[in-house]
Symmetry: C2
Subunit: 314 residues, 2 copies
């Protein structure tokens, strides 16, 4: 039995070192040096080359390096019956909530304006709503969205979530499906997107959504924060909404094309924060440990956890 890493542009050394630290017995291989393909029983993959996973007859499970599995699901590209396992990792979740909390607070507290005041040596206070007056809306209430929601609520924010299925969390309003999207947006001052990328969600952050965000909030105006996937957003619509007034500001960690091309107007827009897909970097130690736990479950006949559903794409 061998374990294969397909890492795209991640340097493999850190992953191998972390895994050997956890389990010295594993036969570790790194794409494209696969060796005998029949040996490969498990693979951890990030953006696998087209068809790569079809060549391994004894593959038992495919683990996704990130929280999303959109980089794996491609039509006809996966061996039949081999489960794709999402990484559900407390460390990854913690990091994503750090990012969401920081940027929600940054907008809520009007810090962009204070930074500008500082650059002018201007001492001036602004009116300031409490968190209990600011409505945060989270699109995508999986592991990441639920954790961020709970933490934002604990800071005092009014929090709602929008998801495919109804969620039941104390103190958090749940909106479900396309039918309730408008109502969700109408009560949202700061929109946080943590959706999985699927055919249904591609391009969902568009002019319609920005137009429906609450315009009567206590802050400077509607804000969007996208830390999901770049293909969830229509960047042309974001720029138009910023300039037309449907959006006041945006914090974007992901982009239609990554790295974000130098000519993108997002780099220099005065009310856009660009971060280089750093919201929740996978920690090799934590992810390898999660995978070992799943492999152990598989070997002892227990079911794998967090298997993605090819029908809905996450």
């Amino acid at each position: 039995m061998a374990f294969l890493y397909i890492l795209d542009d991640w340097p493999p050394e850190e992953w191998l070192r972390a895994m050997r630290h956890l389990d010295t017995s594993l036969d570790l291989r790194v794409w494209p040096d696969v060796g005998r393909v029949k040996d490969i029983e498990f693979a951890l993959v990030w953006k696998p080359p087209a068809g790569a996973l079809l060549e391994m007859p004894n593959l038992k499970a495919i683990f996704s390096l990130g929280a999303g599995v959109d980089h794996i699901f491609r039509v006809g590209d996966l061996p039949e019956g081999v489960p794709v396992v999402r990484v559900v990792d407390a460390n990854l979740t913690m990091r994503m909530s750090e990012y969401v909390m920081m940027h929600v607070l940054w907008h809520h507290r009007r810090q962009r304006i204070y930074d500008h005041f500082q650059s002018e040596r201007k001492w001036r206070g602004l009116s300031q709503a409490g968190a209990n007056e600011t409505r945060v809306g989270i699109m995508g209430m999986g592991e990441l969205g639920s954790d961020a929601a709970r933490k934002l609520m604990m800071m005092g924010f009014k929090v709602a979530g929008w998801s495919q299925s109804r969620k039941h969390m104390d103190g958090i309003d749940s909106f479900q499906g396309r039918g309730e999207l408008k109502a969700f947006l109408n009560r949202t001052d700061i929109l946080v997107c943590l959706l999985p990328l699927t055919p249904d969600t591609r391009g969902i952050l568009n002019a319609f959504v920005f137009k429906e965000l609450a315009k009567d909030g206590p802050g400077d105006g509607p804000v969007v924060i996208n830390a999901g996937r770049g293909e969830l957003q229509v960047e042309e619509d974001i720029v138009a909404a910023l300039d037309g007034g449907d959006l006041y500001a945006a914090t974007l960690d992901v982009f239609e094309e990554e790295p974000l091309p130098p000519h993108s107007p997002l780099w220099t827009h005065p009310r856009v924060t660009v971060t280089p897909h750093n919201s929740a970097v996978s920690d090799p130690r934590a992810i390898n440990a999660y995978i070992l736990k799943q492999i152990k479950r598989h070997r002892t006949g227990e079911a794998l956890e967090n298997i993605a559903n090819p029908a809905n794409g996450y």
Copy 2:
């Protein structure tokens, strides 16, 4: 019976409107239009003029407009036996924790560097510790410090508090008194100061403290965040520590002189964030409601809550 506001440069209208909304029966007066001084039984004060409170023979209690009471305690300036009441208000506490959380995360997540990258259109990720690897130390574990500590812990940070008396909070290390200050600093990457200003704490954020902060943390270097009072810090020492390497960065909401004078080097230091004493702005509605509750307690013979102790100054 009359209620007196001494508001320094706060506009009185909002305070009067908020109070009338809560209780139409009160006889409200605003310094210096006190009317008959014998009528005044209660006063809400911010930086009262020297001796002002000595002139009111029937004063029952003095309420502080902010969380700190240092602006009231001056030798020989208070009528004997009249309690000075600290404002303990959930709204104020929530706002302070917003500020602390935002700026701790900002440093922890290295956002200053990412902002710089954005200005250069540079797409570059940096190594990033998790909150569970970053040690936050809070000086002052009263209402504000304890709330911030609890919320930072919930985000995953390693949190310790330093205070005059030992605190017992699950998951938070407690350091007590001058004897344990060095040990507290040695384990702290991000130092948050929420101390009351007293003769004991004046100037406590000085070269000694910065020198003792942990130099082996996972981030860019030691950080100080002061949202207490400006007189707690020695600004000359902050600048020297930033330039000498004992501090990597600072977020300052309060200053030795406010407004911060235009010639201060803090305005333009590349690793200093200056905010205009906006960390936790008092909400007139919430503070008036708190005062009415205390007046009611007093009238029904119950003890006032949160009475400051003149012996230790908070």
